[in-house]
């Protein structure tokens, strides 16, 4: 038995840990949602483990056939995607603020906090990744 794809193996391990947590929670609380979560994560974990033994990931296969321009295009695509995502988050948070001022509901506060938290985390990741590449690239 040889592991051909480590990413699938890591996913399988994480899924099985979540499945065990769900099962333990089900034994304590006896709620249907926990057994459903257990079944889903357990099946997903088994499939991931099977994939880790049998095939390489699609990204790994694709990266072997990539030339330098494809790598540049992937980088540009990632950058544009991140920028669009940032705009969506910013617009989402601004719209939520406007809606909260018109209809004061707790749902808008939740949305504002979620959007700004994601933006803040993104900014922090960007900062640390930039420092990493400044030192290592």
């Amino acid at each position: 038995m040889k592991i051909k794809n480590q990413k699938y193996l890591i996913t399988a391990i994480i899924m099985e840990i979540i499945a065990i947590v769900c099962l333990i929670t089900f034994l304590y609380h006896q709620e249907t949602r926990y057994i459903l979560a257990f079944l889903l994560t357990f099946i997903y974990g088994v499939i991931s483990f099977y994939n880790s033994l049998n095939k390489k990931g699609s990204i790994e296969i694709a990266s072997r056939n990539m030339d330098e321009r494809d790598i540049l295009l992937t980088m540009k695509t990632d950058k544009t995607t991140l920028r669009i995502l940032n705009y969506i988050l910013l617009i989402g948070s601004l719209v939520s603020i406007v809606f909260y001022s018109i209809y004061p509901s707790v749902i808008y506060i939740t949305l504002i906090i979620t959007f700004t938290a994601i933006m803040f985390i993104q900014l922090a990741i960007l900062f640390f990744v930039n420092i990493y590449y400044e030192k290592h690239a």
């Binding site: 030339d67 330098e68 321009r69 494809d70 540049l72």
Partner: protein
């Protein structure tokens, strides 16, 4: 930042690849296979939409039996970039 002036405007290096390929009676696919890239990459370089890496430029120069300097018109590209830098500096003053 000054050396990315071509990239900032979305214009990449001028090269003689198309001319040399036609002279050598090669197709884009044949050239791409010789230097281990996709034909789309060769098309982009010929359209001046993409600047090849140093190694790819060297491989291409080897195929056409010329120098990288000659193939990529480095002197001409340097002159264009120098002019852009001077223009930018004059614009900021």
């Amino acid at each position: 930042m000054k050396f990315t002036s071509h990239l900032r405007k979305g214009i990449d290096m001028k090269t003689k690849i198309k001319k040399m390929r036609i002279n050598a009676k090669m197709t884009q696919k044949q050239l791409a296979d010789l230097v281990n890239v996709s034909s789309r990459t060769i098309i982009s370089i010929e359209k001046e939409q993409y600047s090849p890496s140093l190694m790819l430029a060297y491989r291409l120069a080897k195929v056409f039996n010329t120098s990288v300097e000659e193939l990529c018109c480095l002197e001409e590209n340097k002159r264009i970039e120098d002019r852009e830098i001077i223009n930018n500096q004059e614009g900021t003053i």
